[in-house]
Amino acid sequence: MGTIAAMATERAIIHVDMDAFYASVEELDDPTLAGKPVIVGGLGGRGVVSTCNYEARKYGVRSAMPTSRAQRLCPQAVFIFPRHDRYAEISAQVFAVFGEFTDDIEGLSLDEAFLDVTGSLRLFASIEAIGRQIKLRIRERTGLNASVGMATNKLVAKLASELSKPDGFLRVRPEEVRATLDPLPVGRLWTVGKVAEENLHRIGILTIGELVRCDPARLQRALGRQVAGLQALARGEDERPVHREVAEQSISAENTFEVDIADLAMAEAWLLRMSEKVARRARDRQMKGRTVTVKLREPPFTTYTRQAQLPVAGYATQDIHQLARRLLHAWWTQQPRPRLRLLGVGLSGFGERAQNDLFQPAASAPQADRIQDRINEKFGAGSLVRAGVLKTRE
C-alpha cells in the first residue's frame, strides 16, 4: 500500500514536439527558403504532404493532404522531396538532449516524444526549468524550435504543447486543467476520432467541458461504448505511464508507385533498391535480423505481407534481397493478374543474433556491403548502388 503522501506525489510529464520539423530542417539547410512557403512531401501524382511550414499553412496547406491539392492552394510554394536520413540525423541530436534529463523517454516519431522527469525534479528547480533547458539546448544544437508542454500526465502535456505552438512553452498545473481543457473542441481530445466527434456533435456536445458535464447514460447511448474512461480523459485524468523506448522492432522501406507496376523485372528492381536501403540501415545500427518481410499492395488497397526467416540473423544486402525476391516471386506467380501499387521490404527478429547455428557460421557484412557503405557515407546516400537498382530511375 502506498502512503497518502506517496500517492499524492504528482508526476512531471513533458511533451516535446518540433515545429514543422521536416520543413524547418530544409529551411535550416537552405537559407534561401526563409520566408517562403515550404512543403515537404511526395511529389508524384499520389504524393501527400508530410510537413509544411507555417508560411504554407496560411494558404490552408495541411499535412496528409494530397500534394496536388497543396499545389493548387499554394502554387508559389517550394516543394521538397523528404530526406529522411537528414531528419533522422537531427532527430538523434534532439533525443540526445532528452537523454540529458531523463531515461524515461517515449519517442512517438522523429520529432515528438514524452518525457517523465519526475525523478529529475530533485536536481532542477521545477518542471519549467527542465522544459526551458530542453528548449534552449535543442535550439542551440540544431537551430530549430521545439514546442514544450508540461503537466502531470501525457494527455495534458500534449495538449499544452499543441496549444502553445509554434515555438510554444506552456505548463498546465492541476488546478488549471479544467479551465484549459473545457473550452476546447471535443475533437481535440485523445481517443475522440472523426466518428465519435460526429456522434457527440449530434447530441449537442461541442466542447470538452460539455463532455465532462454530460450524463453518462446519454453519452453511452450516443457513442455505444463505455464512457467512464472517456469522461475521465475529458477531466484531464490520464494514468498512462511514459513507456521507455523499446528496442526497434523492425527496419523497413516501402514505396508507392506513380503508375502501378505490372512488370516483374521492374518490381524486382524496386525490391533490390529497398533491400539495399533496409540492409544499409540495419548495418548502420549494427542490428542483425532474422525475419524478412515483403509487403505488397494490389490496387486499389489490398495489402499482402509475406515473410520468411534467414538461416542466421544478418544484414547483408544480398541475403535480404534473395529472400525478399523469393517471397515476391511466390506471390507474383499466385496472382492471376499481378500488379503492384506499393512494395515494401522489412527486416525484423533482431533478438536472435546471439544464437549460434548448427549448420551455418555467424553472418557478417560482406566486403561489397562495407565498401558500398563507406562510399555512400563519403559521397552521399545513393552514390553507389547495385546496377539492378538503376532500372527504377528510368
Binding site: Q309, P311, L323, A354
Partner: protein, 366 residues
C-alpha cells in the same frame, strides 16, 4: 448420392479430415470435402494439394455417388446437432440436403471431378510399426522443426530409414531433435524423406494411444500412412536434409549426469528471470555441481544449484532455456546426460545409458 448416418459416427471422420482444409484456399474446391458413397461405406477426403487425408466410415441406405461439400460448414453443422441425431444426406441436383429430426440444411456443392486427389505414390518401401512407437518418434521431435525458414528443407521432419532403424529428425538450425526405433525387418537401401511441417502436425494429431499398428509407405514423392479407416498422404519436401549426423557432437568429453526432473524444475524457475527475447541462461559446471544463472535487462538475477555427477570444472556455456526445456520434456527416464566441449560448441542431451533419443543444442553467446 444418398446415405444415412448417426451424428457421432459421422463426426469422427469429419474431425480427422477437416484440419487439412486451409481456411484460405487458392482454388474454391479446396474448401470442400470430397464425399464418396459406395457399398456400405462413405469416405471423406480433405486436401490442400500438399497433404491429403481420407477417412471412411460405415453408413446405411447408401446410394452410390460422389460430390464435394463445403468442409467447414458441414463440420460445424454436424458438430452442433444434438447427440444421437440421425442424419440423412441426399444429393438433389447441385445441392445437398442434410436432414436431422426437425433440422434441415441445404448446402452448395462442386462437382467431384474438380477435386484434386493423389492416386499412385510409386511405392519404394513399406514399414509397419506399432502406432504408439511412431507417435512417440514424431511427438518427441516435431517441436524442433523450423517454421518458414529459408532453408525450406528444415520446415519439416526427416524420416531416415536404414537397415534395422527408423529415425525421425527435426531441426531449426538452433537445436536438433532425434529419436530412433528398431524395426522388425530390415530395409534394402537407405531412404531419407522429408515430410512438410503441416503433414507432421496432422499426422501427430491423428494418432491415438492404443495397441494398433500403422503402415508407412515411402513413395518416390509421397509418404502414405494407413491407420484403420484413415489414409494420410503427404507430398515430400524436395530437398536434401543437412548432414545431421555430422553435427551430433562426438568429442564432447565433458559430461554431467543429472536428475531430469530436478534439472527441469530448476531451469523453469531460472527462466522466469531470463531475458524475454534471448531467453539465455548460463550453465556453469564444477565438480559435483551444476549452477544455472539467468539475468534480465532489469538486472534481476536467478541462481539455481543442482547436484550432479561430474568431474568437469570451470566450464560455462550459455543456452536458450526454452531449447533446454523442450529437450528435457522430450526425454524420459530418471537421469539425463549432458555432454559439452566448450562455450562455442553444441551440447548433447540424452537419457542415461540410452542413445535412442538425442538432442543437440547450439550455445548462445552471452
Amino acid at each position: 448420392m444418398q446415405f444415412s448416418i448417426q451424428r457421432e459416427v459421422l463426426l469422427k471422420p469429419l474431425q480427422q479430415v477437416v484440419g487439412v482444409v486451409e481456411r484460405r484456399q487458392t482454388l474454391p474446391v479446396l474448401a470442400n470435402l470430397l464425399v464418396q458413397a459406395s457399398g456400405e461405406r462413405v469416405s471423406f477426403t480433405g486436401t490442400d494439394l500438399e497433404v491429403e487425408m481420407i477417412a471412411s466410415t460405415p453408413a446405411t441406405g447408401v446410394h452410390e455417388g460422389e460430390v464435394t461439400i463445403p468442409a467447414r460448414k458441414l463440420f460445424d453443422i454436424v458438430r452442433a446437432l444434438p447427440d444421437g441425431a440421425k442424419i440423412d444426406v441426399k444429393l438433389n441436383g447441385e445441392r445437398v440436403a442434410l436432414n436431422a429430426g426437425r433440422s434441415r440444411f441445404t448446402l452448395a456443392t462442386l462437382p467431384s471431378t474438380e477435386f484434386p486427389v493423389i492416386d499412385e505414390i510409386e511405392l519404394v518401401e513399406r514399414v509397419t510399426l506399432p502406432e504408439e512407437v511412431l507417435r512417440d518418434l514424431m511427438d518427441r521431435t516435431s517441436f524442433a522443426m523450423a517454421n518458414q525458414d529459408v532453408r525450406y528443407y528444415l520446415n519439416g521432419m526427416l524420416l531416415d530409414l536404414q537397415e534395422h532403424t527408423l529415425r525421425c529428425v527435426a531441426t531449426d538450425g538452433h537445436r536438433l531433435a532425434l529419436k530412433q526405433t528398431q524395426l522388425e525387418s530390415s530395409v534394402a537401401a537407405r531412404r531419407q524423406i522429408i515430410i512438410p511441417r503441416k503433414g507432421v502436425n496432422e499426422l501427430v494429431g491423428l494418432f491415438e494411444t492404443g495397441e494398433g499398428s500403422v503402415e508407412i509407405e515411402f513413395g518416390r514423392n509421397h509418404l502414405r500412412v494407413r491407420r484403420g479407416d484413415v489414409v494420410f498422404t503427404s507430398k515430400l519436401i524436395d530437398g536434401r536434409f543437412p548432414d545431421y549426423e555430422a553435427v551430433i557432437p562426438l568429442g564432447a568429453d565433458k559430461t554431467a549426469t543429472i536428475d531430469r526432473e530436478v534439472l527441469r524444475s530448476a531451469l523453469q524457475r531460472a527462466a522466469i528471470l531470463s531475458n524475454e527475447k534471448y531467453r539465455g541462461v548460463k550453465l556453469e559446471l564444477s565438480p559435483g555441481k551444476l549452477r544455472i544463472v539467468a539475468h534480465n535487462p532489469e538486472q534481476e538475477e536467478a541462481v539455481e544449484e543442482v547436484e550432479c555427477e561430474t568431474s568437469v570444472s570451470d566450464l560455462a556455456v550459455g543456452f536458450n532455456v526454452g531449447y533446454l526445456l523442450d529437450a528435457l520434456g522430450a526425454l524420459r527416464g530418471e537421469n539425463v546426460r549432458l555432454s559439452l566441449r566448450d562455450a562455442q560448441s553444441s551440447c548433447l542431451l540424452q537419457e542415461e545409458g540410452n542413445e535412442d533419443a538425442r538432442h543437440v543444442i547450439m550455445p548462445l553467446r552471452l
